[in-house]
């Protein structure tokens, strides 16, 4: 009998404690003026270089918002608290970290993950938790679209979707390079290459002389280049990544094909010039999200100056995109005058003419920002020019 009483007593104490803690938490939340933003960044593993750059960008944005007095909603001032978790360059980890941020840390919004694959893995967790999630750098068109073709209600991104690059590259080819005829090389082993190509073809006003496809890992482009060599074209468009693009560039220049080469952000890597050889990496233009040399909006220059002062280095495009992601969440809160997750989601979906550091952004119906891009020009393997394509 004593035992039973003891057990019952223990139960009462434990339940009381739990309820008490829960209540105290609730009452704390009521008066709290903190907005929690979760960060899902790969700070270890293969993608850690991007993850760290983005975490820095998000933290820096939070620091600046708080230093400037936080976010004012209905006369109340909120400060932001960033809760960062490492998704370890692992898709499963990205999903579980997202769940943990939503259910344990009770975040109001999430910035991240870094890569397309990790974002795709985290989509169900964010959707189930009804929490808006903005990936700074997931590029694949599909991540904001459900299988049935409808928009993913809680998923957003700060960078443009991949195929949008094709549209802007076409504009660049028309207006800046003034190319009337182009030859396209595309990596057809991924949606990235083919998606950009079809968007390019749709938007390009000139004539596409020929489209040659290759697979990731191909090294020999002699046959394709010989085939196009005697045709008339003003530029080559390479829709793929830097390894194959580097090989194409080298072999084309060796053959005496010296026309401008235009490519998406997949070409933006120092390895491009290394593989092509510096002397061959001239007259090359690749798309970038952000360049310290070409401020896309008025917000860009103060950001770069402040960031340099704080960290002693130039912000990368990953840093800038994560920074914009946090500021877009702030904008959404201010527009909707609420820190409620559902309201933030609505706010993000309706972002219009937002002056980010990576460009003026307007969210389209599928949660992809429409914005300007930067075309970086290389001479002798070095980035020498940067042109904003509005």
């Amino acid at each position: 009998m004593k035992k039973v009483i003891a057990i019952v007593a223990a139960f009462v104490v434990v339940i009381g404690a739990v309820v008490g803690i829960g209540m105290s938490k609730k009452s704390a939340e009521k008066t709290s003026t903190v907005i929690k933003i979760g960060g899902v960044f790969d700070t270890s593993g293969d993608a850690s270089a991007y993850g760290e750059a983005e975490q820095k960008g998000a933290n820096f944005a939070v620091k600046r918002i708080n230093a400037a007095g936080g976010i004012k909603v209905n006369g109340k001032t909120y400060t932001i608290e960033m809760v960062n978790k490492d998704s370890k360059s692992d898709n499963t980890e990205a999903a579980s970290v997202t769940t943990s941020l939503i259910s344990n840390n009770k975040v109001n919004a999430i910035v991240g993950p870094v890569t397309t694959a990790a974002t795709q893995a985290a989509v169900p967790a964010a959707t189930k938790g009804q929490t808006p999630m903005m990936s700074p750098t997931a590029g694949a068109d599909s991540i904001t679209v459900q299988k049935n073709g409808k928009v993913q209600p809680y998923i957003f991104r700060a960078q443009f979707k991949n195929s949008y690059l094709g549209t802007k590259m076409a504009q660049f080819a028309d207006e800046q390079v003034k190319a009337k005829d182009v030859v396209i090389f595309q990596d057809n082993s991924s949606d990235y290459g083919t998606g950009i190509t079809s968007a390019f073809k749709k938007a390009y006003k000139g004539h596409v002389v020929d489209t040659a496809s290759y697979q990731a890992g191909d090294t020999d482009f002699q046959a394709m280049l010989t085939k196009i060599k005697n045709q008339k074209f003003d530029a080559i468009v390479i829709n793929g990544y830097y390894t194959e693009a580097g090989a194409i560039l080298k072999q084309a220049r060796d053959m005496g094909i010296n026309v401008p080469v235009i490519g998406p952000d997949g070409l933006g890597d120092p390895k491009l010039a290394e593989i092509a050889g510096n002397q061959n990496a001239s007259n090359v233009y690749y798309a970038a999200h952000f360049s310290t040399q070409a401020p896309a909006t008025d917000a860009a220059t103060p950001f770069v100056t402040a960031y340099k002062k704080a960290y002693g280095e130039d912000p990368s495009q990953f840093t800038a995109l994560a920074y914009d992601a946090v500021y877009m969440i702030k904008q959404a809160i201010e527009d909707e005058k609420s820190v409620d997750k559902a309201k933030i989601t609505t706010g993000l979906a309706h972002i219009k003419n937002f002056d980010g550091v990576t460009g003026k952004m307007t969210m389209d119906a599928f949660h992809n920002p429409k914005k300007s891009i930067v075309m970086v020009g290389e001479t002798d393997g070095k980035d020498t020019t940067a042109t904003v394509v509005k």
Partner: protein, 292 residues
């Protein structure tokens, strides 16, 4: 017309490398009936050795080429000694699996120690273009064809004229009879691996110089294509490997030239299937009956 000739030339250059690789497959198959799946990775190792000799030790390209061939020959012998010799009396499938194991070990080992990134191969020889009428060829392309032809002639000499070559042919024809004749079979097999690996390494170094990049998985696709080339020419037959290599190189190039770049490999392998259906022993293959 000139464009067709140029494409044929491109095909021959590409095919020369496949041929160098295919020779190794065919020699090893000829002598111990093993498809040495690690062969493509020896080609990769050769390229890395070349990279090391040129980039770190700053040797002349040709010295680096010869040294890379020599070191890779050693690697080939070690692979045979460690992974294949203990299994010589086992069923053939066991050796085949061992070969796949070595292949993965080399690929992943290199990725682990040196990173899976592509590396730029040092441009030890500056590219110079020559023009012959409409045809265009660079000094490096000439070097590839030249080296391949010289090495193949050398191999023919070794196999036909030297004592070791005679031993190789004897072991290939009948291993037990060769033992009875007093031939050191182990040494002959080691020698075969050494030669095959050296040829693969030469291919690797040349390709590194030509395409200017190397990575730990660079041997996979050429390895498979060279294997197919060896089968196409008639596996076990040395001139067949050279013929098969060139044929595949030309086929691959021409498929792209007529605008089928989307289906490049599909077309090449499709043609192969047709050829093998019609002549299963390969183009130069003899319809020899197997003794039971």
């Amino acid at each position: 017309m000139s464009s067709i000739l140029q494409q044929l030339l491109n095909g021959v250059i590409l095919g020369s490398v496949y041929a160098l690789l295919a020779l190794g497959y065919t020699m090893v198959y000829g002598i111990i009936k093993l498809i040495n799946f690690a062969h493509g990775d020896v080609y990769m190792l050769g390229a890395y050795f070349g990279y090391f000799f040129i980039n770190v030790l700053h040797l002349n390209f040709f010295i680096a080429l010869v040294l890379a061939m020599a070191v890779s020959a050693g690697v080939g012998v070690v692979i045979e000694f460690v992974a294949y010799r203990p299994l010589r009396q086992s069923p053939r499938i066991a050796v085949l699996i061992s070969a796949l194991g070595v292949s993965f070990l080399l690929e992943n080992g290199m990725s682990y120690f040196f990173g899976s990134d592509k590396r730029a191969f040092p441009q030890a020889i500056a590219t110079v273009q020559y023009h012959f009428g409409q045809l265009q060829i660079s000094n490096i392309q000439l070097l590839i064809i030249g080296t391949a032809v010289v090495l193949m002639l050398g191999l023919t000499l070794i196999v036909q004229k030297t004592k070791m070559g005679r031993a190789m042919r004897a072991v290939s024809a009948d291993q037990e009879a060769a033992i009875l004749m007093g031939i050191n079979v182990n040494r002959t097999i080691s020698f075969t691996f050494a030669i095959g690996s050296a040829l693969a390494a030469a291919g690797g170094v040349l390709i590194g110089l030509y395409y200017n990049n190397i990575d730990p998985l660079m041997g996979m696709t050429p390895g498979i294509k060279a294997f197919v080339a060896a089968v196409l020419g008639g596996i076990g037959i040395i001139p067949g490997a050279a013929l098969g290599g060139w044929l595949i190189g030309i086929l691959e190039t021409l498929t792209q030239a007529i605008g089928l770049s989307d289906y490049k490999d599909a077309v090449v392998y499709g043609i192969l299937i047709v050829i093998l259906l019609w002549k299963p022993t390969g183009i130069l293959g003899k319809n020899g009956r197997e003794k039971v």
